[in-house]
Symmetry: C2
Subunit: 384 residues, 2 copies
DNA sequence: ATCGAATAGTTCGATGCCTAAACTTAATCG
DNA sequence: CGATTAAGTTTAGGCATCGAACTATTCGAT
């Protein structure tokens, strides 16, 4: 009961920083008395601070502005990439207070060795900054089972069946700080949503092409992971029954025709910045190479939209860079294939966080977990 | 609080009929005292009956068997088909107590005229049987918006923007009996799950081919409808970029290559029973016609599974009839294309309810709504 | 047969959280 | 400077759950 209402109150403060106790009461349907008592507990626990009276029109006492405390627990994001380990700290308000990327050739190393390094990175964050870490989010390029938290397979790292939370808890002496591992494409989608750049973004697909093609699907502000957590594997949607062979064994997977490698091979360029330069200069070969990519991506996304009825698509990673050239043919394909497009068009946006989306999402997930269920943290901090 | 716990208790009784109060307490985590008081209210409201002491091993008093009351509120299912109106009554235990199909050429009629007939059918159920109707589910072959309950479009009926619940409430004088409208394919999936034939079925896709191809997606026992309710539109997934033109304007939609019309046209037979007869007799043309259907269906379903990570597929409607000939090539295609198939194979089942699935699902949805949130019904029935 | 152990269900007082309403504080407006 | 309006606090009261003691029922051992 109180647990649920604490979450309600914290959620209201997170959604509209600077809101007053009376405002929270109006929004949540609780009484002012209840809100007062719950807010007091949150303040004592260090989750909330009340600031200056906010200015308002007309007569009457001004409410004190409640905000999540920047000095409260932080979320630590860790991203295990193929050739780097990145860390990032985020406070309750969503502000990034520390970010660091360490190059590392993780592909050549077995999981335990890499996790030793990750643990060291985590401990170094702990020792360098005097903040309370309330949770850790670990983004990995692989499939994470949601019931167990196990990384089932990470093809590009060559890992299988690694219990990342358990390993890190042991190696970094984390006591009972919650650790959650997740797919990087999923975290990237959340990161983009929470970036604040697109305030209305609550139902969307975030697609990005890196080595594979990853997608994060968010519906009603919540990540959609499928039954076991292996959902959103958009890279192996079939877009051309007679298309080229994919590494997975099937034919015509999206990844095989619209992945980064396929794009670069088709356009005869060695990397993405070079491709963008050619596109900007109007190079005909580059332009004709990108068009079918958009078509294929559009076919795959149409399938997703027909199935999930999601109104918005966010282009991330390499697709964000190619956005200006993808947008139009993509829109055409979607309009043609999506059944509901006739009465509600699909919006296409470009990612603003780019490659930082995943780690921001991982770190912010950790703090959001506290906001979504603050009671454990509060009762651990406040004795009474 | 009590509302939530009442739902918990009723849910436990629905899940394991014959459970004792102590069993409910153990399963829900509530205390025996709380369960007793909640069960008493449910009994007074007529939702639950306690029966004979159940037999059990060992010493100790036997618990009284609690079951949902067959005399409690019933769910009324209505199906508005293209050429019939069907009604069906289901009690809280899931038993079907009355079923009736009235032929009617609804395609030729505007919506109001048809709804007048539907209202008459509903009133006739009310007058014929002395049962309390606790809710009505209406299955329609169209897209229903979940936020408003509006039928946005039903191509085969030629209807657009019809507020079925409101219309029926007026025309059939329903007072405040809740009415929920929904897509027939979705109701069919729920009907199949609740039929009791597949007890473990909680995560699956139910696909059926009638005039179009419909799918209902169930995850964690809950219908997945997409953001606005237009999800699961599997009929227009793209399975062959260069395939034939579909009525929707795009090319190579599943419906165009694996719908009932396409199957019959390919095999040169006039109806499904005839096709089944030919297949059984080993007719080569029929056999070679069905195989690509399975392939295409497999491609579309692989896309769905890769996206939603659903472990089971149930073949319904025409596909159920063709099940024996579809199963093998379908399984092959899924194994090839589904990324997670390597470590968790996809199960393919055949529907047991056939064409009755939708109406059963609609009726059962109405009673399940009461079980999922019994408090409104209880407080309306029990004064104190 | 009788007693004891085990299990089901009820009764009753205690607890905790929320609510309602009165009250205090703080601001605007005439 | 007092009336009015709104924010926030205090206090008394209510309701649902819990814990513990109690009754009821059954088996098995003496």
């Amino acid at each position: 009961m109180r647990r649920h209402n604490s979450a309600l109150v914290l959620g209201a403060i997170a959604d509209s920083p600077g809101i007053s106790r009376a405002g929270v009461a109006a929004r949540t349907g609780l009484t002012k008395a209840t809100v007062s008592s719950l807010v007091d507990r949150a303040i004592v626990a260090g989750l909330v601070v009340d600031g200056e009276p906010a200015h308002r029109e007309g007569p009457g006492r001004r409410g004190t502005a409640l905000t999540l405390s920047p000095a409260g627990p932080h979320g630590l994001g860790v991203e295990i990439g193929v050739d780097y380990i990145a860390t990032c700290l985020v406070d309750l308000t969503g502000r990034v207070s520390r970010q660091r990327i360490r190059p590392a050739d993780n592909r050549a190393q077995p999981a335990n060795r890499v996790l030793v390094k990750v643990a060291r990175a985590i401990r170094s964050v702990f020792s360098e900054l005097p903040v309370v870490v309330g949770g850790i989010g670990v983004a990995v390029p692989g499939l994470v089972e949601n019931s167990t938290g196990l990384l089932r397979t990470a093809p590009n790292l060559g890992w299988r069946d690694v219990d990342i939370p358990a390993e890190l808890r042991d190696r970094a002496a984390l006591a009972d700080i919650p650790v959650l591992a997740g797919n990087e494409a999923n975290f990237a989608a959340l990161g983009e949503m929470w970036s604040g750049e697109h305030p209305e973004l609550r139902d969307f697909i975030h697609v990005s092409a890196e080595i594979g093609i990853g997608a994060g699907i968010v519906m009603d502000g919540t990540l959609f992971e499928g039954v076991r957590g292996f959902g959103g594997e958009i890279g192996h949607l079939s877009v051309d029954a007679k298309g080229p062979q994919c590494s997975c064994g099937a034919r015509g997977c999206l990844e095989a025709v619209a992945g980064q490698d396929a794009i670069l091979a088709q356009s005869g360029v060695s990397d993405v910045p070079a491709l963008v330069a050619r596109l900007e200069s109007g190079d005909r070969k580059a332009l004709t190479a990108v068009r079918p990519v958009a078509r294929y991506l559009g076919t795959a996304l149409s399938n997703v939209v027909n199935l999930l009825d999601v109104p918005t698509i966010v282009l991330g990673g390499t697709y964000a860079a190619l956005g200006p050239w993808l947008q139009e043919p993509l829109q055409e394909e979607l309009t043609l294939r999506v059944v509901s497009a006739a009465w509600s068009p699909i919006t296409i946006l470009q990612s603003t966080l780019g490659t930082e989306a995943a780690i921001r999402g991982a770190a912010t997930s950790a703090v959001r977990a506290i906001i979504a269920d603050p009671d454990p943290f509060i009762t651990a901090t406040v004795p009474g």
